[in-house]
């Protein structure tokens, strides 16, 4: 039988606010000692009340714009109840049925070509729980409430994906969007983005029973989870078994999903509007003001970069660095296409290599933009070969010196002076009479050989275009 897989993804994004969603304590728990970033609310003391962090709302609006979503004029917070030691209030403050971010759409390019369009059902704001750890072999668990109350948005997709490649591409695109919107540190290692992956398979038009694999924190694992679940579910169905609707976990070492909680144990969360928090009202003026502050997003950058004839893998690599991508955009807008092409090639080639080797930083690259543009102009003006230009990139970017200064120091300036070149040419012709005669006899291929000999004799500094012209003149062509 032929099975079709259907995939939906819920993505939690940790917002990079200074303080928590409802309490004025530091939000950055990465390096902090356990239970030091807490307020009476984070501990769930009697009498505490939540007060919405306006900055978190602003970031949510930006995230919504990045998702091409509508921002709700009216939204509200609800309480989701369950008991767990890392949930001090006994409920999570979230948005149940009237979220701030309404339907949107994300289009993600696929490495194999084309793209996948994924509709976003909605995205809601919520406060994270604390962190529980269960030391092996001990009869206790530990709770750290530093993370309790950290602002998250949960982006809920429609089940619009059908392959592991699409799922991975969508996850990565969300990452880029949140990065460009400037709403999150998007550090997957620290769990700034976590994915819950819903997978079902079906041989008919009707959707199959889905499983939800929770808390995935890499794009690669998203891909692997989908591959594994599709294969596992097909195997189960082929064996005549049913798929249980359940929550599963991902074992990265074994590269396997495993069951965590079945639907029978599902909570009744008893959602109801949080009476401590007034509804959130957002005017269209506020949204438009935020929209005007948004940078150019990856989709438009891809279109702009498409005329630079660099391959899509390189474009995607450039997009990982928003400041560089935006610098390239500025160069495209302000200079001719050849300049932009040359710089794009450096960005994704030699410069990327130098940054990778920590010889230079992207910040230095941005700072050297004007000098890079001068460098291209020198190549265009015949003052420097492209090879020589590449050789001075590192010095150019890491120092304050101009391209001309460095090229002169390194004696790399091209010789375009015809007097000097003619001397070399006459020398070369006299040493290569056979080739000269061949050319005169119409054997044009040999001209390349002579150009090469001239270049060699000039120590690589001759301008090859000028050499060719002078050679032709000398040979009476």
């Amino acid at each position: 039988m032929k099975y079709k897989a259907t995939i939906g993804i819920e993505c939690h994004v940790q917002l990079s606010t200074k303080t928590k969603l409802f309490a004025g304590v530091d939000n950055d728990a990465r390096e902090a000692e356990a239970n030091t970033l807490i307020s009476p609310l984070c501990v769930g003391l009697p009498g505490t009340l939540p007060v919405l962090n306006e900055k978190a709302l602003e970031l949510a609006i930006r995230a919504g714009i990045a998702l091409n979503a509508k921002i709700a004029e009216y939204s509200k917070f609800d309480r989701k109840h369950y008991f767990y030691p890392d949930l001090p209030l006994g409920y999570q403050i979230t948005q149940y049925d009237e979220p701030t971010i309404l339907s949107g759409v994300v289009e993600a390019p696929l490495p194999s070509g084309g793209s996948v369009k994924v509709r976003v059902h909605h995205a809601h704001l919520e406060a994270d729980a604390g962190k529980s750890t269960h030391p092996v072999g001990k009869n206790y668990s530990l709770v750290d409430l530093n993370r309790a109350g950290t602002p998250l948005i949960e982006i809920v997709s429609e089940p619009d994906m059908h392959t592991a490649e699409e799922a991975k591409a969508y996850a990565r695109e969300l990452y880029l969007l949140m990065k460009y919107a400037g709403v999150s540190d998007v550090n997957l290692f620290y769990g700034n983005m976590r994915f819950d992956v819903n997978v079902s398979v079906s041989a008919t038009d009707e959707l199959g029973t889905r499983t939800e694999t929770k808390n995935i924190n890499s794009f690669r694992a998203v891909e692997k989870v989908v591959e594994y679940e599709i294969a596992r579910q097909i195997k189960e169905l082929e064996a005549g078994n049913n798929i249980d609707q359940e929550t599963r976990g991902w074992d990265d070492n074994a590269q396997k999903t495993f069951p965590q909680r079945s639907k029978e144990n599902a909570h009744d969360y008893r959602y109801f509007p949080d009476p401590d928090l007034p509804p959130v009202v957002i005017s269209s003026e506020v949204v438009e003001k935020e929209r005007a502050l948004m940078p150019t997003m990856p989709a438009l950058l891809r279109t702009k970069f498409s005329e630079l004839s660099i391959d899509s893998a390189k474009v995607e690599a450039l997009l990982e660095e928003p400041t560089i991508a935006h610098e390239l955009e500025n160069i495209i807008d302000a200079h001719d296409i050849n300049t932009a092409k040359m710089i794009a090639n450096w960005y994704s080639g030699e410069i990327a290599r130098l940054v990778g080797e920590e010889e230079i930083t992207w910040d230095q690259v941005i700072g050297a933009s004007a000098r890079l543009i001068d460098l291209v102009a020198m190549i265009d003006g015949g003052l420097l070969s492209t090879t020589a230009a590449k050789d001075i990139l590192k010095d150019l970017i890491s120092s304050e010196k101009s391209a001309k200064e460095i090229a002169e120091e390194k004696d790399l300036m091209q010789v375009s002076d015809s007097g000097e070149l003619e001397m070399i040419i006459m020398q070369v012709i006299s040493e290569n009479q056979k080739a000269a005669n061949d050319i005169k006899a119409g054997e044009m291929k040999a001209i390349g050989f002579l150009v090469g000999q001239v270049m060699k004799a000039s120590g690589g500094k001759a301008n090859p275009g000028v050499v060719q012209d002078l050679l032709r003149q000398s040979l009476g062509l």
Binding site: P40, L45, G47, T48
Partner: protein, 485 residues
């Protein structure tokens, strides 16, 4: 015991007078605090107080006295002792909400209301008894015993702010703080013959007050006169950055001078028809009717007003409030503070046993009702319907206020019940709230002012005003006090 002799409402001058005496050096803060502590010690049999904050109170009194001695401003309530219901988080002792689950809990921060009063020189001397977590109308649901009515100690003081109200009736302090979720300030005030005020929802910050039902909880002052209540409200009112449901205040709530010009006070007052039906004791009805007649005689136009949905308000209240209660009490799980079953093995046991032992039957009843009405499958039939009904009630009340300036009626359908009278019948207990809960559901301000007695027990007149008309309400209530005298 001889009851009447213990009614010492005149132990204390008007608050403004006390403050001026403290400032002029006629009396010191420490003398006032010691007087209050002595009175508390002498009236233990009424069980109005859970704990005293003696050490901190004396220290603060000395600070106030030192300030005054050095010519500094010691605040609008300089040296005035007060008592707070034990669901206000405060330094100097325990905050228990009269529940076993919080017994021994020492607050690491203070309620905004306490902070504001302290900033103006008031001195907290004791924490008053209440029904545990404010669940009840008699303090019989307190895990610390019942507060007896100072007028007749065979009767309850009412609740849930029974301890705060009885404290004022007993003259233990010039004023006290209560909370009013469904009548918890007004009902005991009516039973004990003092003035109890329920401000507009959001006028006083709820921060640092153990929550009962977040959408109806308000903090209210209790005192001997409307003027005193207004004077305290003036310190309490206003926005708080820690409570996002708070609202802007008027410039001042202090009442000054006598208000005899009825045209200025009220054009027209509505007697709520549904409040004077068969469910109300005949004696109570007569006293309230007399009050309305006195107002009429003084020149106020009295009309009858009908608010049909008010009959459904109690049902609505006993869905919405338990829903919020069940949620607000989730945090008492025995894991971080408060009572925790010491020998529970699994996490689940720790939750179940800590809560089973820590909460009392009435707490559990409300948690169960609330959990039920929020459960999937029942939410639409109960919680959602109650929320719709609440909106309908608000619309009807708003409509009534298009025709009248204030609404009047009884506070409770009866005088204070005998201790134990309703103990086995929670429904009968809930019925005591029938005329106070609509006010909380609507968020409007209301007051209980003594208006006479029935069977020798005090009866309060409830006066209700539109949203944010607190100042006008207090002025009218003061006017009524004058009419009654």
């Amino acid at each position: 015991m001889s009851h009447k002799s213990l009614i010492s409402s005149h132990e204390w001058d008007a608050i403004e007078k006390i403050v001026s005496d403290v400032n002029s050096g006629k009396i010191t803060a420490i003398e006032l605090v010691e007087k209050s502590l002595k009175l508390i010690e002498d009236s233990k049999e009424y069980n109005a107080i859970i704990s005293v904050t003696e050490e901190r109170a004396k220290k603060r009194a000395e600070e106030v006295d030192a300030k005054i001695k050095s010519g500094m401003n010691a605040g609008k309530l300089a040296g005035v002792p007060f008592i707070a219901k034990d669901n206000f988080l405060a330094f100097g002792g325990e905050t228990t909400a009269a529940s076993n689950i919080l017994r021994g809990f020492e607050a690491p921060y203070q309620a905004t209301a306490i902070e504001k009063l302290e900033a103006e020189g008031a001195i907290l001397v004791a924490k008053a008894n209440l029904d545990a977590f404010a669940h009840g109308g008699s303090t019989e649901n307190s895990d610390f015993g019942t507060t007896l009515n100072p007028v007749d100690s065979t009767r309850v003081a009412g609740g849930s702010s029974g301890g705060s109200v009885a404290s004022v009736t007993l003259g233990l302090a010039p004023f006290s703080l209560g909370t009013d979720t469904g009548g918890s300030v007004r009902e005991p005030a009516s039973f004990c013959g003092v003035v109890g005020y329920k401000p507009t929802y959001g006028l006083v910050s709820r921060y640092g007050v153990v929550a009962m039902a977040s959408s109806t909880d308000v903090i209210g002052p209790i005192a001997n006169t409307v003027e005193d209540v207004a004077y305290v409200l003036d310190v309490l009112a206003g926005r708080d950055s820690k409570d996002s449901t708070t609202i802007d205040r008027e410039l001042s709530y202090v009442l000054s001078g006598s208000l005899q010009n009825t045209a200025h006070i009220a054009h027209r007052v509505g007697v709520v028809k549904e409040f004077l039906g068969d469910g109300v004791d005949k004696e109570v009805r007569e006293v309230v009717q007399d009050a309305a007649d006195q107002l009429k005689k003084s020149g106020v136009e009295i009309v009858e007003v009908s608010i049909p949905s008010i009959d459904l308000a109690l049902a609505c209240y006993y869905i919405i409030v338990p829903a919020e209660v069940s949620s607000n009490l989730s945090r008492y799980d025995g894991q971080r503070y408060g009572f925790s079953k010491p020998d529970a093995v699994e996490l689940e046991d720790s939750y179940n046993e800590s809560r089973a032992i820590g909460f009392n039957p009435e707490n559990k009843r409300r948690i169960m009702i609330g959990t039920y009405v929020l459960s999937s499958g029942y939410y639409d039939a109960y919680y959602k319907k109650a929320a719709l009904l609440r909106t309908k009630l608000i619309n009807e009340v708003n409509k009534a206020f298009e025709k009248v300036d204030f609404l009047v009626g009884p506070v409770a359908p009866t005088i204070a019940p005998k201790v134990g009278e309703n103990a086995s019948d929670p429904l009968k207990m809930y019925l005591l709230d029938i005329m106070t809960v609509p006010v909380n559901l609507c968020g409007v301000p209301a007051i209980s002012v003594p208006c006479g007695s029935a069977k020798g027990m005090p009866v309060g007149l409830q006066i209700i005003a539109p949203m944010r008309k607190d100042k006008e309400l207090l002025e009218f209530a003061k006017y009524y006090e004058g009419v009654r005298k």
